[in-house]
């Protein structure tokens, strides 16, 4: 288990240093998107149209924050279950998404997809959303504000603590753990 500090998207080319089980402190620019936004992203991509956010080298945080208190940058924020986004992941990777940040088990095809597209799946801690809000330095809604908490937001994050589940070599922390157990 190693620790890495990543600046995004500047370090998008450094994913080869990450291995499943490593800890990452992520700083830089990432975007929130969950179920509803993914459906819209992928229908645009499949229609050959542009997306409101450039997905090349993007980091997508599967998250929908709580409303922002006055004087705060961001409300409580944390990961949602990533396997719900399973059917959208390959289209998003084809469009250039390199980092997925969520929580929970990977879907069965994910390790192979990460290997093929050089992408990684990292988990943020679930159920620590007040604390995670401290890692958010700025937040701006950049697409589909009508989706409320599900709108796409550009976040500037600082030292967001994450754990690598799927690296670009086809390893998966949770699958390896289950196999070791059996």
């Amino acid at each position: 288990m190693r620790e890495h500090i990543l600046q995004w998207p500047e370090d998008a080319g450094k994913l080869d240093a990450l291995h499943s089980g490593d800890i990452v402190y992520l700083s830089g620019t990432i975007y929130t998107a969950r179920d509803a936004a993914h459906r819209r992203f992928v229908s645009l991509l499949q229609a050959g149209e542009g997306t409101p956010v450039d997905l090349r080298d993007s980091a997508i945080f599967y998250a929908g924050p709580s409303p922002c208190l006055p004087g705060h940058v961001c409300g409580s924020i944390g990961p949602t279950t990533s396997s719900r986004m399973e059917i959208y992941k390959e289209d998003m990777m084809k469009a250039g998404m390199k980092l997925m940040i969520g929580k929970g088990s990977s879907d069965p095809g994910l390790p192979a997809l990460c290997q093929r597209y050089g992408a990684a799946y990292l988990v943020a801690m679930g159920g620590v959303a007040a604390l995670t809000a401290h890692c958010i330095r700025s937040m701006e809604t950049v697409a589909w504000p009508e989706l409320g908490a599900e709108a796409v937001r550009r976040l500037t994050v600082e030292r967001l603590p994450l754990v690598v589940i799927d690296d670009i070599y086809g390893n998966d922390y949770f699958i390896d753990l289950a196999q070791k157990c059996e």
């Binding site: 709580s66 409580s76 959303a129």
Partner: protein, 279 residues
């Protein structure tokens, strides 16, 4: 006969929604703190440290413990000697939920099921109303996050499956859920009743105090056995492995048709929120 005005109910529900989302019950906090007392892997230790810091930040800054402030599940025990005045009980509860989610800066996560249009105020709450003896009104609010709820399961087992079948179904549910429901989880199990009653029993079970014993000796023994089996699955805190997959297993049972053996397993995340008040 005692009169309770709907305004009092509305205000109480508003406060319960906010408090439940900001402050963890003391038994849940104690159970999580207990995990820190032993030797843990570095990843588990990192999680437990963050859990503690999160509780402190949430309380100090008035932020929700989890961004998923859930579906508001409201259990009401209404004494038969109480007369609700000034309006309808359920309207007061729904308005209290809307007030609480607005004023507490809690996330509005409720959408129409098929067209997925947000209702904007986190209503409708799911309300379970029970008439009881007495002159009191008990209200319990359990904000239930989607992640753990999605991993819950229900089955109409054959009676031949027996106790073993029930236990296997419970353990398999936790195993299939893996890291998704934000372990360490609380496992609520409803056994018996009907297709609709087993899941409600399971949900009620989630509000039992951690450390309390089941008054039924057979169920009490099963709870201990199930907890042991679940904690051998090596899912662990946040799925990173280890013996702390569940904080507790709570069983509730009622008689059922002799052709049936309904069993429902409702999982709750480690942010196992609920608050209650008696008016």
């Amino acid at each position: 006969m005692r009169a309770i005005h709907v305004d009092e109910i509305r205000a109480a529900v508003r406060k319960l929604c906010i408090d439940a989302n900001l402050y963890l019950p003391s038994d849940v906090t104690a159970a999580l703190e207990n995990l820190s007392k032993k030797e843990n892997s570095p990843l588990t230790e990192m999680c437990l440290t963050q859990f503690r810091a999160n509780r402190e930040v949430a309380a100090a800054e008035g932020l929700a413990l989890c961004q998923d402030t859930g579906t508001a599940v409201v259990f009401i025990e209404l004494g038969q000697e109480v007369q609700i005045c000034g309006g309808l009980l359920t309207d007061a509860v729904q308005q209290g939920v809307a007030d609480g989610y607005r004023d507490g800066y809690l996330r509005k996560s409720i959408v129409t099921a098929l067209s997925r249009i947000n209702t904007e105020d986190n209503t409708p709450a799911v309300i379970h109303l029970r008439l009881v003896a007495g002159e009191h009104l008990l209200i319990r609010v359990l904000p239930k996050g989607g992640g753990a709820e999605n991993m819950s399961r229900m089955a109409m087992l054959k009676p031949s499956a027996g106790v073993e079948g029930v236990c296997d179904f419970v353990v398999d549910t936790v195993k299939l859920a893996g890291a998704n429901p934000c372990p360490p989880v609380i496992v609520g199990v409803g056994i018996g009743g009907n297709f609709e009653s087993a899941p409600i029993l399971a949900k009620q079970a989630l509000m039992r105090e951690i450390g309390s014993r089941n008054p039924d000796p057979e169920l009490d023994e099963l709870e201990q056995k199930l907890l042991m089996r679940i904690n051998q699955l090596n899912i662990g805190v946040q799925g990173f492995g280890g013996p702390d997959t569940a904080l507790a297993v709570f069983l509730e049972s009622m008689p059922c048709h002799f052709a049936s053996l309904p069993v429902a397993v409702n999982l709750n995340c480690h942010v196992a929120r609920h608050q209650q008040v008696i008016l």
